[in-house]
Symmetry: C2
Subunit: 428 residues, 2 copies
C-alpha cells in the first residue's frame, strides 16, 4: 500500500518524544485526515540503549545518524537534533537524495536556509519548518500560503519566551534582571547558560526566517542587528510604565525605502498595543500590511508538546506530498532586497539621562538633539540639584543620528550619564 | 498554456472590487508564487452598466449569475453576493459541475455547509472559505492544516467587529449602548439595520463554522445558542471594570463530556486574558488544546481589503489545484458529536441584584444558590437601605441550575430585581 510512510528521526529529546507520543496517540485521526500511516523506522540518538518513555519498539534506536538519512525506506526525515553540525550535512544529504525533511532547527535554517532550499529544489524534496519559529503557533504556513496577496510592510515579534518571561517578571514584580533570570532558570524557562536567549541570538535566527518569508527575500542570522536584554534596568521598566509603555525584546523586520531592516533589541511598546499583553513565556508575531491592516499570531513559543504539534502538522503535509508523489514547496530564498545597515534604520527612542538640574540644562540637551536633526516628542524631568533625571522620547529618527546625539550628550558638562537608550516601537 | 485560470465572480461590492484590484496590482507576484494567471472572465452584478472603479474591461459584467456558473471556461467561481438565495443554488451548481468555489458567505456555509461539501466531494471540486470568518485573519487554513495533530478542547472568539466596537466604546468612554450604536453607524461599523450583528446572528454563523472545523463535526447556525448585546448596561460594564473584567460578545465552542457546546452571548472575561485587549472593530479567536496550550489569531475581521486578501489567498490555492488537476480538500462535515442542549452547558456567572439592605438578605440570596448547587465564588454589596446592589460571581455552574436560581431569586421578597445575568468566560 502507498499510504504507509516510513519516517526517520534525528534526535529524540523533549520535542522528539512528544512527536512520537502524538503520532501514536492520534494515529487514527492522522490517517483519517491525511491518508497516511507513519511508521517510525529509525531514530538516531546519542544513547540508543537508554530506556525511554516513548511508544516505539527499542530496536529502532541507533547512534548512527547517517544510517537514518541513508536508509532507502525512510521517506521523511524529522530533524530535531539542533545546532549546525552535524545537522547541516545530514539534512543536505537527505534533501539531495529526495527525502522530505521536517525540522525545528531555527539556527540551521537561519544560517544555511538558502543552501538547504536549493538542495530541496534540486531533488523535488520539500523542507518543512513550521516549528522553527514560535513553537506551536501556526505562523510559517499562514505567512506562505494565506498571505500571498499581501505585501507585508512590517513584522514585530516577541519570539523568545525566556526573555519575555524575565521582562514580564521585572515589570509585574518590580524585581531586577538578575533575580528574574534566577527565577526563570528555577522554572526551566532559561537554560543554565542562557547566552543564546539573553543576547538575542535565538530571536535573531527567528527574525531572519520571518523576514525572509515576509519579504520573499534572503535574510540570514548574521544580517540581523542584535542587542540583548541584560542592560534593561528596573528604572527603565518603571519609566516605561509611567509613560504608558511596556518593555519587550522585539524582533523587528521592516521595509524601508525598498531595503529590509532587521533587528532584535529591547524596546518600549505602547501599553495598548496587542504585543504589550503578551505575558509570561508566550510568543506573538504582529504583522502590518496595507490591505490586511494588523494581524497577530499568539501562543506558546516553546515546550515539547506545542512544538510537537507543529512538527506533526508538517509531517502530515510531507506525508501527503510523498503519497501523492508531488514535489515539495520550493522557497527560492533569493536576494530581492538589500539589508539596510543599522546606521540608516529608523526608530523612536527613549533616553534616560542623569543631569545636574540648573537653568539652561534643558536647552543644552535639546540643542544636542537639534544638531543631529533628531526631533524630541516629549520630555520629563524628575528630582533636583545634582540628582535630577531627564527622560526623553524622540520622534522617529535615524540610528546614526541618534548615536551621534548620544555621543554629544555624553560630552555635555551638566549631563552626568546617559543611563539608558531604548527604542520605542509600535507607535508612529 | 495551462497556467491561465478563468475566474467568474458572483457579486462585485466592496470585497469584490478589492479582490479585482489585488489581482490586477499583484498580478506578477501572484504568478510567481502560484504559477497561475487569473483571467476575470465574467462578473455577475445587479447593474452591469454602472461605471465601476475596478481594473476590468466593462464587457465582462452581466446581470445573469447563472451565465457565470454555466460558462464552461470558468474554472473558479468567486461568490461574494452573500445571503442564501440565490447563492446556494449557484454555488451548488458550480460545485456539481466540478468548478472550484471561493466564498466569503458565512451565512450560506453555516446553514448549508454539509450539502455544499457533499457536492464538492462528489465532483472533486474544492470549496474554499477562509474569508467567511474573521476577514483577513488566517484562521480556517491553520485550523485545518496546521493543527491536525491537536484535539482542540475550546475555542473563544470575538468574531463580530460591530459589537466589539460598541462594547469597546461603552467600556472606554462610559457611554450607553444606544449612543455607542449611533456612533458605530456614523462610522460605517454598523449597518442601518444592525439586527444581524447586535443579536448575534453573524457571530453564530461564524461560531458554527469554527466549531465544525475545530471538532471535525457538523455544527450549523441553528445549533448555536444566541444572545445579543442590547441588554448590556453601563452598570454591567462598570462592575466588570471594578472586578477586573471586560465585557465582550463571545462565540464559545467547547467539548463537554464528548458533546459540542456552542453559544454566542455577551460575557465578562478577565482583564489579563488575551481577548480582553481586542479593541475597536478587531476580531480574535482564542484556541485551547492539551498540547498547543493557548493560541490566538488576531486581526481585522471585516472590510474590503482584509477580506480580499483572504479571498485571493484561497483563489491562489484553488488555481494551483486546477492547474495541477488535483481534487480539492474535502471536509466531510459529518456528525461526530452531539450538540449539547443549553440547559446542560456550563459557565461561570455574574449577577447584579437590586436588594433591600437588611440583616439576613445575603443568607436568603446565598440559600437560593445553594438550593440549586450553584457555588458562589465572590460577593460584593454596595449602597444601603432600599437602594442596595448585590454583585455575585459564581463558580462554573450548569445553565439550567442557574436559570432555576434566578427564578427563585426573583421570588425572594428582599430582591427587588435581578438586573443582569452575564456569563464569565476564560477564567476557570
Amino acid at each position: 500500500v502507498t499510504d504507509s510512510v516510513d519516517v526517520g528521526f534525528l534526535g529524540c529529546g523533549t520535542v522528539g518524544s512528544a512527536v512520537l507520543r502524538l503520532l501514536d496517540e492520534h494515529r487514527d485521526d492522522i490517517f483519517e485526515r491525511s491518508g497516511c500511516r507513519f511508521e517510525v523506522r529509525r531514530i538516531a540518538v546519542r544513547e540508543p540503549d537508554r530506556t525511554r518513555d516513548v511508544p516505539v519498539p527499542p530496536g529502532r534506536f541507533t547512534d548512527d545518524p547517517a544510517s537514518v538519512v541513508e536508509d532507502p525506506e525512510v521517506r521523511v526525515v524529522v530533524e530535531l537534533m539542533g545546532g549546525v553540525d552535524p545537522a547541516r550535512d545530514l539534512v543536505l544529504s537527505a534533501l539531495r537524495s529526495g527525502k522530505r525533511v521536517v525540522t525545528a532547527n531555527k539556527e540551521l535554517l537561519a544560517k544555511h536556509g538558502p543552501e538547504l532550499f536549493q538542495a530541496a529544489a534540486g531533488s523535488g524534496a520539500g523542507l518543512h519548518f513550521e516549528a522553527t519559529v514560535a513553537g506551536g503557533v501556526p505562523l510559517i504556513r499562514p505567512l506562505i500560503e494565506s498571505l500571498p496577496a499581501e505585501r507585508i510592510t512590517r513584522l514585530l515579534g516577541i519570539v523568545n519566551g525566556t526573555t519575555n518571561y524575565i521582562l514580564d517578571r521585572m515589570t509585574e514584580d518590580g524585581i531586577a534582571f538578575a533575580d528574574a533570570l534566577t527565577e526563570a532558570q528555577r522554572l526551566g524557562y532559561a537554560e543554565s547558560d542562557p547566552t543564546d536567549d539573553l543576547e538575542g541570538f535565538d530571536a535573531a535566527a527567528k527574525c531572519a526566517i520571518l523576514a525572509s518569508l515576509a519579504f520573499d527575500t534572503r535574510v540570514v542570522a548574521d544580517d540581523v542587528y542584535r542587542e540583548g536584554i541584560a542592560r534593561v534596568s528596573p528604572a527603565d521598566i518603571e519609566f516605561a510604565d509611567r509613560l504608558g509603555y511596556v518593555v519587550k525584546l522585539l524582533a523587528v523586520a521592516e521595509l524601508e525605502d525598498g531595503d529590509v531592516a532587521v533587528r532584535v533589541h529591547p524596546a518600549m511598546i505602547p501599553r495598548d498595543h496587542p504585543l504589550a499583553a503578551v505575558r509570561d513565556a508566550f510568543n506573538a508575531v504582529f504583522v502590518d500590511g496595507p490591505n490586511i491592516g494588523e494581524l497577530m499570531f499568539y501562543g506558546r513559543g516553546a515546550g515539547g508538546a506545542p512544538t510537537a504539534v507543529a512538527v506533526v502538522g508538517d509531517l502530515i503535509t510531507a506525508g501527503r506530498l510523498v503519497t501523492e508523489g508531488r514535489p515539495g514547496l520550493t522557497f527560492t530564498w533569493e536576494v530581492r532586497h538589500r539589508i539596510r545597515p543599522m546606521d540608516l534604520m529608523e526608530s523612536q527612542f527613549y533616553l534616560l539621562l542623569d543631569v545636574v538640574d540648573r537653568p539652561g540644562v534643558l536647552a543644552q540637551v535639546a540643542g544636542a538633539f537639534g544638531d543631529h536633526r533628531v526631533s524630541i516628542k516629549s520630555v520629563w524631568q524628575e528630582g533636583t540639584g545634582d540628582d535630577a533625571l531627564l527622560v526623553l522620547i524622540t520622534h522617529r529618527a535615524n540610528e546614526g543620528a541618534l548615536r551621534a546625539t548620544v555621543e554629544d550628550l555624553e560630552r555635555l558638562e551638566p549631563v552626568l550619564e546617559v543611563r539608558s537608550v531604548l527604542r520605542v516601537e509600535g507607535e508612529e
